[in-house]
C-alpha cells in the first residue's frame, strides 16, 4: 500500500486531481460556513453581474450564484459519489459472482451484462425518468445505478476469471476454504486497483448523467444542485441575455469535478498496470477491448 502511495505522490497530475476533488468536497461540507444562509433566498436584483458583494453575480430570481454554487455542490457531489459507489458495488458483485462461479450462473449473468451494455443508456434513463415524472436525487441515483453497472461487471469478471486459476487461489480451494472467504480474502484485494478505476469512471459517468437529466428538467426544480442551476439558468435565457455567470458557475463546477476525477483516473490506471508505468495512462477501455478481441478469437 505504501508503495502505491509513493507511486501516487510521484504523479503530479494525480495529486492535482486529488486536491481538486478534496477541495470541492470540503467546499460542499463547509457550505454553511462559506455561504451562510439559505441559497434560495433572494438577495439582490435580477441577473446582476459579479460584484464584490455577489462574487458570482445573481440569478434571474436575484439569488446569489455563489451561494447556490457552494450549496449546489452538496447534492451534486453526493449523488455523483453515492451513485458511483452503487454502480461499482453492483458491477463488482455481479462480475465476481459470474467470474468465480462460472457455468450457468456465468452464462446468465454475462448475457445480461452484455445485453444491458449495448442498450443506449441516456435514452433508457429518459424513458425511466419520464415514466417516473419529476424525480428527486434518490430516484435519479437509483435510475442511473440500475442502468450503468455493466462496464464494471465486465471488467471484474475478466479479472476474476484470470485470477481464479492462479496458484494461490487454487491452493486456497484445495485447502478447503469456503467460497466467500476465497472471494473476499483472496480475490477481492487483488481487484482493488480495478475497482478504483471502475469507481472513478462510474462517478464521472454518474455526474454526467445526473447533469443531463436535471438539465432536461427531470430533476426537482426547487432543489439547489448544479444541474438544476443549469436548468433554471437555461429557462431564464441566461445565455442570450448575457448573464454568463448564471450558467458559467454550475458549468465550471461540473467541468472541474470532471477534470479532477479524470486526473485521478490516471493514477489508478498506473497502479493497475505497473508494467506500463512508463506510459502514464491505460484506460478501462483497453482492457475491455483486449478482452473482447480475445473472446472473439476464442469463440471462433
Amino acid at each position: 500500500m505504501s508503495s502505491g502511495l509513493k507511486l501516487f505522490l510521484r504523479q503530479k497530475k494525480a495529486v492535482a486531481g486529488f486536491i481538486i476533488i478534496v477541495a470541492l468536497c470540503l467546499m460542499a461540507l463547509l457550505a454553511p460556513v462559506l455561504a451562510p444562509g439559505d441559497p434560495a433566498q433572494r438577495v439582490g436584483r435580477s441577473h446582476q453581474p459579479p460584484t464584490a458583494e455577489h462574487v458570482f453575480g445573481t440569478t434571474k430570481m436575484g439569488r446569489d450564484v455563489y451561494a447556490q454554487f457552494v450549496w449546489g455542490a452538496r447534492p451534486s457531489l453526493a449523488v455523483g459519489f453515492a451513485t458511483g459507489l452503487a454502480i461499482t458495488a453492483i458491477g463488482t458483485a455481479i462480475g465476481l459472482i459470474a467470474g468465480y462461479f462460472g457455468g450457468r450462473t456465468d452464462a446468465v449473468l454475462d448475457l445480461t451484462t452484455n445485453a444491458v451494455l449495448v442498450i443506449p443508456n441516456i435514452p433508457l434513463l429518459i424513458l425511466l425518468a419520464s415514466f417516473a415524472g419529476t424525480v428527486g436525487p434518490m430516484a435519479i441515483m437509483a435510475i442511473i445505478a440500475l442502468t450503468s453497472w455493466p462496464w464494471g461487471a465486465r471488467m471484474t469478471r475478466a479479472q476474476t476469471l484470470s485470477l481464479k486459476n492462479r496458484e494461490f487461489i487454487v491452493a486456497a480451494r484445495m485447502v478447503g476454504e469456503p467460497w466467500w472467504r476465497i472471494i473476499f480474502v483472496e480475490i477481492l484485494p487483488n481487484l482493488v486497483p480495478l475497482i478504483g478505476i471502475n469507481l472513478v469512471g462510474s462517478i464521472i459517468y454518474a455526474i454526467v448523467a445526473q447533469t443531463t437529466l436535471e438539465y432536461l428538467g427531470f430533476g426537482d426544480p426547487l432543489n439547489v444542485t448544479w444541474g438544476t442551476m443549469l436548468y433554471n439558468a437555461q429557462n431564464s435565457s441566461a445565455i442570450i441575455v448575457g448573464a454568463w455567470w448564471d450558467i458559467g458557475a454550475p458549468a465550471l463546477g461540473i467541468a472541474i469535478v470532471g477534470l479532477g476525477l479524470a486526473l485521478l483516473n490516471f493514477t489508478f490506471d498506473e497502479i493497475a498496470n505497473p508494467q506500463l508505468r512508463s506510459g502514464p495512462a491505460l484506460s478501462r477501455w483497453l482492457r475491455l477491448n483486449r478482452l473482447r478481441a480475445r473472446e472473439l478469437r476464442a469463440v471462433r
Binding site: 445485453a115 443506449p120 443531463t212 470532471g258 506510459g279 477501455w285
Partner: protein, 327 residues
C-alpha cells in the same frame, strides 16, 4: 458464419430486454400513464384512440402473456403505436422524420472524431512521454469527463450568440428547398458544424485514449520491431504496421460508445434546435408522449446493435491475424 452465435445471442437478449422494459414499465407505474395520455388528447380522445392506448399500455382485461404477444405482433409489423402529441401521426412517422438528421449528425461526428482522435492517439503513442503526449493524453481524459451539456452551452454562447459565426438552429436554411445542389448541401454542412463540434470532444477523447494505449501495446510487438530493424521509415512503420492493428480496439470502442453518443446528441440537438431524434425525444418527454419515447429507445437500441454487428463483421476483415488463423 463469421459472427459467432454467442454474439448474436447477446444482441437478441439486449433487444428483448429493451422490449420487455418498454412493455412492463407503463404497466408497473402507479397513476397509470394512460389517464394522462387520454387527458392530453382532450377532445381528440375518440373511443378508438382510447382503446388503442389502453391496449398498448395494458389497461385492458387480458392475461399478460396475451398482451405481450399482441405487443410483439405490433413490433413485427413496425407498428409502434400512435403519438400522443402529434396525434394522429404514428410513432413510426414521427421518428422517420427526424432519424435521418440524427444519423447524419452522428455519422459525421464519428468520422470527424475518428480521424482526429486516432491521429492524436497514434502520434501520442509514437512519441510517448514527449511534450505532445504529456499534454494531449491527459486532456483527452478530461474531455471524456465533461458532460456534453457543458460543451454545447459553451459552444452556443461563444460561437453562436457572442461571435455569431454559425447559425444557431435548424438543419439547413429554412428558406431553401431541399434538393441535390451545392447551395443546399453547403447549408446543411454549415448548420451541422456546431452540433458536430459539440458531439466530438467526448469521442475524440475516447478515441485518442484507446488508440494511444492500443498503439503502445502494438508497438511493443515483434513485427513492429522487425519493421524498424528492416530500416523502414518511421511513418511507414507507424501506418502500415502499428496503426492498422491498433485500430481494432478503437473500433470495438466505437460500437460500444454509440449509446453514449446518442445521449450526447439528445442534448446537442436540444441546444442547437437541430431537428433530429434527440429533439423529438425531448419534446416527447416534456409532453409525456410515451409511445414516442418508447419507440425512440427501440430505434436507438437497434442502431447500437447494428453498429456492434457491423464491427463484429469488420473485425474479421481488418484483423489480419484473425484472418490468417481462419484460412
Amino acid at each position: 458464419m463469421r459472427i459467432p452465435l454467442r454474439r448474436l445471442g447477446v444482441y437478441l437478449a439486449a433487444f428483448l430486454f429493451a422490449i420487455v422494459v418498454n412493455f412492463t414499465l407503463p404497466r408497473l407505474m402507479p397513476g397509470s400513464p394512460v389517464d394522462s395520455m387520454i387527458a392530453q388528447l382532450g377532445p381528440r380522445a375518440t373511443p378508438a384512440a382510447i382503446e388503442a392506448i389502453k391496449a398498448r399500455f395494458g389497461a385492458v382485461e387480458q392475461p399478460i402473456w396475451l398482451q405481450f404477444l399482441d405487443y410483439l405482433k405490433g413490433l413485427a409489423t413496425f407498428d409502434l403505436g400512435v403519438s400522443v402529441k402529434y396525434y394522429p401521426q404514428t410513432v413510426t412517422e414521427v421518428l422517420a422524420r427526424s432519424a435521418g438528421w440524427t444519423a447524419f449528425l452522428v455519422v459525421t461526428a464519428v468520422i470527424f472524431s475518428l480521424c482526429v482522435g486516432v491521429s492524436l492517439g497514434a502520434v501520442a503513442a509514437w512519441r510517448r512521454g514527449g511534450r505532445f503526449d504529456a499534454f494531449v493524453s491527459p486532456f483527452s481524459v478530461v474531455l471524456i469527463a465533461v458532460p456534453p451539456v457543458i460543451i454545447a452551452l459553451a459552444t452556443l454562447f461563444t460561437f453562436g450568440v457572442t461571435l455569431r459565426w454559425f447559425p444557431v438552429g435548424y438543419a439547413y436554411d429554412p428558406s431553401l428547398d431541399p434538393g441535390i445542389n451545392f447551395t443546399f448541401f453547403g447549408s446543411v454542412f454549415w448548420h451541422a458544424i456546431m452540433p458536430v463540434l459539440t458531439l466530438s470532444p467526448y469521442m475524440i477523447g475516447e478515441f485518442q485514449t484507446t488508440m494511444r494505449s492500443s498503439m503502445i501495446s502494438v508497438l511493443g510487438e515483434d513485427y513492429v520491431t522487425m519493421g524498424r530493424a528492416k530500416g523502414l521509415s518511421n511513418t511507414a512503420v507507424m501506418f502500415s504496421y502499428a496503426a492498422r492493428n491498433a485500430m481494432l480496439p478503437v473500433m470495438t470502442n466505437l460500437a460500444l460508445m454509440l449509446g453514449a453518443v446518442f445521449g450526447g446528441s439528445i442534448v446537442t440537438e436540444i441546444v442547437f434546435n437541430y431537428p433530429g431524434l434527440g429533439l423529438t425525444l425531448f419534446t416527447a418527454s416534456v409532453a409525456r408522449d410515451y409511445p414516442v419515447i418508447q419507440g425512440q429507445l427501440l430505434l436507438m437500441t437497434m442502431a447500437t446493435l447494428g453498429a456492434n454487428l457491423l464491427v463484429d463483421i469488420l473485425y474479421g476483415v481488418v484483423d489480419p491475424r484473425v484472418q490468417e488463423g481462419r484460412t
